[in-house]
């Protein structure tokens, strides 16, 4: 190989590097010197970078950089800038009553976008990114509301929550008819089947629905209404429609009657500012099921 280093390619007159692969030799074409300088420059640049920016991990912290720049601060600055950019519209939203937002198209589009972003960040964990809900967490796209579907009612629910412990929270408690020995097993089975019957679902053969109707009238109608249509004052669901928060099969209904249900939603006042809650109310109302 040493001999090959002094080999000169006869066609180009260039020396070769001494590397040879199956008779193919690599020409030693020198790089321009400015390229070398640029390479050194990048090294100097990298050293400068260590000095200027946080770079080296230490045992319990890291080098802070000469000017105290941190990516976290940069994010905070960016967010502040964004907030100030949105300030005129935010102020307009704060000053506009909920039902009047629609009248101003720009404000409505702004509110919807703000609400959507806030929803995904704060509400999506339980209700789903698009408000599709899950078992025990209401779907906010449908037209069935436990506590009311007008924009003001939605705002109240978001602000104070449901069974959240807040003084103004929406409160109610379904009795645990089985656990607390209010109803016997066979009574629970018959009322469960009665509930399925008023929702238009099939019932178990041999179950006394008339007895179930009487049990319903005595125990359930006070909250769910004589016809089972529910009561939004108490958050008692409508039992006759096609929407079931926990499920409509017999076993689930029996479980609900025996052990009771009472979902909890946190109060968002104090966590979110009133303008964000307003935007959330507008967004949820716009998902499709909003009532006038």
């Amino acid at each position: 190989m040493a001999n090959d280093h002094t080999h000169v390619d006869s066609v180009t007159g260039t020396t070769t590097t001494g590397h040879e692969w199956d008779g193919i030799r690599e020409l030693n074409t020198p790089l321009p010197r400015w390229w070398l300088w640029l390479f050194y420059l990048t090294i100097i640049w990298a050293v400068g970078y260590w000095v200027v920016y946080p770079a080296w991990p230490l045992i319990s912290s890291f080098t802070q950089g000469a000017f105290g720049w941190h990516s976290r601060d940069a994010v905070v600055t960016d967010l502040k800038e964004l907030t100030s950019l949105r300030a005129p519209m935010t102020e307009k939203l704060a000053a506009t009553a909920l039902p009047d937002i629609k009248a101003n198209q720009d404000l409505a589009d702004f509110t919807y976008a703000q609400g959507r972003a806030a929803f995904r960040e704060n509400c999506g964990a339980c209700h789903g990114a698009g408000g599709g809900g899950a078992k025990g967490y209401p779907n906010l796209n449908d037209n069935d509301w436990l506590w009311g579907g007008t924009i003001e009612q939605i705002e109240q629910t978001i602000t104070f929550g449901i069974r959240s412990g807040h003084a103004k929270a929406r409160e109610s408690q379904m009795p645990a008819f089985g656990k607390d020995n209010i109803l016997k097993s066979n009574e629970i089975i018959s009322v469960a089947n009665y509930v399925r019957s008023i929702a238009g679902l099939s019932t178990r053969t041999g179950v006394d629905l008339k007895a179930g109707a009487k049990i319903f009238a005595d125990n359930c109608a006070v909250c769910h209404g004589p016809e089972g249509k529910g009561n939004r004052e108490l958050g008692a669901p409508n039992l006759t429609d096609g929407i079931w928060l926990f499920g409509s099969d017999e076993a689930t209904i029996i479980d609900v009657i025996a052990n009771a249900r009472g979902g909890v939603m946190p109060a968002w006042t104090g966590r979110l500012d009133p303008v964000t809650i307003k935007a959330l109310a507008y967004y949820v109302h716009s998902l499709g099921g909003g009532e006038k």
């Binding site: 002094t6 000169v8 006869s10 066609v11 180009t12 007159g13 260039t14 020396t15 020409l27 030693n28 074409t29 020198p30 790089l31 321009p32 010197r33 400015w34 390229w35 070398l36 629609k102 198209q105 409505a108 589009d109 789903g128 990114a129 698009g130 408000g131 599709g132 809900g133 779907n139 796209n141 449908d142 037209n143 069935d144 409508n238 429609d241 096609g242 929407i243 716009s286 998902l287 499709g288 909003g290």
Partner: protein
């Protein structure tokens, strides 16, 4: 000194040639493309002895740039280059100031890249970001035109049109103007730093910086209303980013056209490599007609040789072709990576041939095939129309046609529909199934328009647009040159929708009746 250089020394620039010889040797060492086989056995032997000297020396890993002092030249190709320089730089510097009336809601600049509003204006054409495929078309056109130029006449782009070439040409002209032409500049550089030399260099760099600054200044004018921005820049009210870009482009222009020059072509640009792979035997290239030129000899020596009945070529080895070359290439060594084919050596050689009373175009746009043909005594052939060039023309015509058709028939409105992903469908309290969609309506006119929406493909369904519930007419008004997003709900009352049904959303302009439509799916429960 070799025989080769001795002959050259009898020529006018003998003193300077000794200086340039080192540079030539460097040029030989740099050569990476195969040369034509040595025509003169004596010359070939000379070359070999030259190479043998290097075997003992280690080739350096890095080498300094050798400064090139291109000499002023006049002629046909120089005039073409001047014309191209004025036209291209004129277009670049002045286009932002062209006005084009688009009505009250749109900018009045003929060519404008409006980044904040995501619009590109080109005279009567307005491009939205979603129409970026026009850029694809333009890129295909640019590539094919480049290939076609290459197939017809080699590196036309490199020699005449490339910004690197145009600005370098301008900067070299200023260099000759301030520091003198090749000979004067060389002699001055060999001398000390006199006050005059400092003054001349300072003037050169000042003028370079002015042009570079103007280059950056023109660049930013494409991104904002030019007259307003010029005023803002002058009064220091322009946004920081404008000054930043002017600074960046001032630096790059100054560095690339003033200092880097041929280094950009030799080391940084991929096109020399690409075109080397693209070229073929019929492409015209700036070629030294060695059939006519060799063996080289001075005027006196060739007369002597001819008198003895020995062969003598037309090349008098005056090195004018090398001296005018902006990249320092000796065209007589054959095709070279560094040759941008600007044709200036043709002009230089023609001038010399006229002086010595020999026919012009010893260096010319030609092919190796024709050289061989002439050597064999057959007629030269020119194949401008061949499969490659025809194919390029066909592709260029097709792409132009498709783009023109697409531009001429495109709608002034568009609709795009996005199905909700969570939830995919919603069951309502009465058992009906509903799907929700985000619908974006684009109004590409510069006036406010009203649109209405409808849906087809799903019998027994009802369309509801959340934003238009108040008026119940489903009329969505969209501002001039804007888009608007609305939430559309489609409810199926047939109560038994299949798992998936194709639906089409239709958009109508309430006034003109112009339409657009978009397809999507209605997802059922699948029960």
């Amino acid at each position: 000194m070799t025989a080769l250089t001795q002959t050259a020394c009898r020529d006018a620039e003998c003193g300077l040639f000794a200086l340039a010889e080192g540079a030539r040797v460097e040029a030989v060492k740099m050569k990476v493309i195969a040369q034509p086989p040595p025509l003169d056995p004596a010359a070939g032997a000379t070359s070999d002895t030259l190479f043998d000297e290097f075997v003992e020396d280690d080739t350096p890993l890095y080498q300094a740039r050798r400064k090139i002092y291109p000499q002023r030249v006049n002629g046909t190709y120089r005039r073409i280059k001047w014309a191209v320089l004025f036209v291209t730089l004129g277009i670049y510097y002045l286009t932002p100031f062209l006005r084009w009336d688009r009505g009250p809601n749109s900018p009045g600049q003929a060519v404008l890249i409006d980044l904040p509003n995501r619009r590109f204006y080109f005279f009567f054409i307005e491009i939205w970001p979603q129409e970026i495929y026009y850029l694809t078309g333009l890129l295909i056109l640019a590539a094919m035109t480049l290939f076609l130029m290459n197939a017809l006449a080699g590196r036309v782009w490199c020699g005449y049109l490339c910004p690197q070439t145009v600005w370098t040409d301008l900067f070299q002209t200023i260099e000759r103007w301030t520091e003198g032409d090749r000979r004067e500049h060389l002699l001055r550089d060999r001398g000390g730093w006199t006050a005059e030399r400092v003054g001349r260099a300072a003037t050169k760099h000042f003028l370079w910086l002015i042009i570079a600054w103007w280059t950056g200044g023109a660049w930013v004018l494409y991104f904002a209303d030019a007259p307003t921005l010029v005023r803002d820049l002058a009064t220091l009210h322009a946004p920081f980013v404008a000054y930043l870009w002017i600074g960046i482009l001032t630096f790059t222009t100054y560095a690339l056209a003033g200092w880097m020059r041929e280094q950009v072509c030799l080391y940084m640009c991929p096109w020399p490599r690409i075109q080397a792979a693209l070229t073929d035997e019929y492409a015209l290239n700036v070629t030294y007609r060695y059939d006519r030129g060799e063996p080289r000899a001075s005027v006196k020596k060739s007369a002597a040789l001819l008198a003895q009945g020995l062969p003598a070529g037309d090349c008098i080895d005056c090195l004018q072709c090398l001296h005018v070359c902006p990249t320092g290439v000796d065209i007589r060594d054959g095709p070279d990576l560094g040759c941008i084919q600007c044709g200036l050596c043709i002009d230089a050689c023609d001038a010399v041939m006229a002086k010595v009373g020999r026919p012009a175009r010893l260096i010319a746009y030609d092919t190796d095939i024709n050289i061989k043909h002439r050597q064999e005594g057959t007629a030269p052939i020119y194949h401008f129309v061949r499969l490659r060039t025809a194919l390029y023309v066909v592709i260029i015509t097709m792409v132009c046609g498709i783009m023109t058709f697409a531009l001429a028939t495109r709608n002034a409105q568009s609709i795009s529909v996005l199905h909700d992903r969570n939830p995919v469908f919603v069951r309502l309290s009465d058992g009906a199934v509903r799907n929700a969609y985000t619908v974006r309506i684009a109004n590409k006119r510069s006036e406010r328009r009203e649109f209405t929406l409808s849906i087809s493909g799903l019998a027994g369904s009802l369309l509801d647009v959340v934003q238009t519930r108040e008026d119940g007419r489903f009329v969505v008004d969209v501002g001039p040159d804007q888009t608007r997003e609305v939430r559309a709900l489609v409810t199926d009352y047939a109560l038994a929708p299949p798992p998936s049904t194709s639906v089409t959303f239709h958009l109508y302009d309430v006034v003109t009746g112009e339409r657009a439509s978009a397809g999507d799916y209605f997802r059922g429960t699948g029960e």
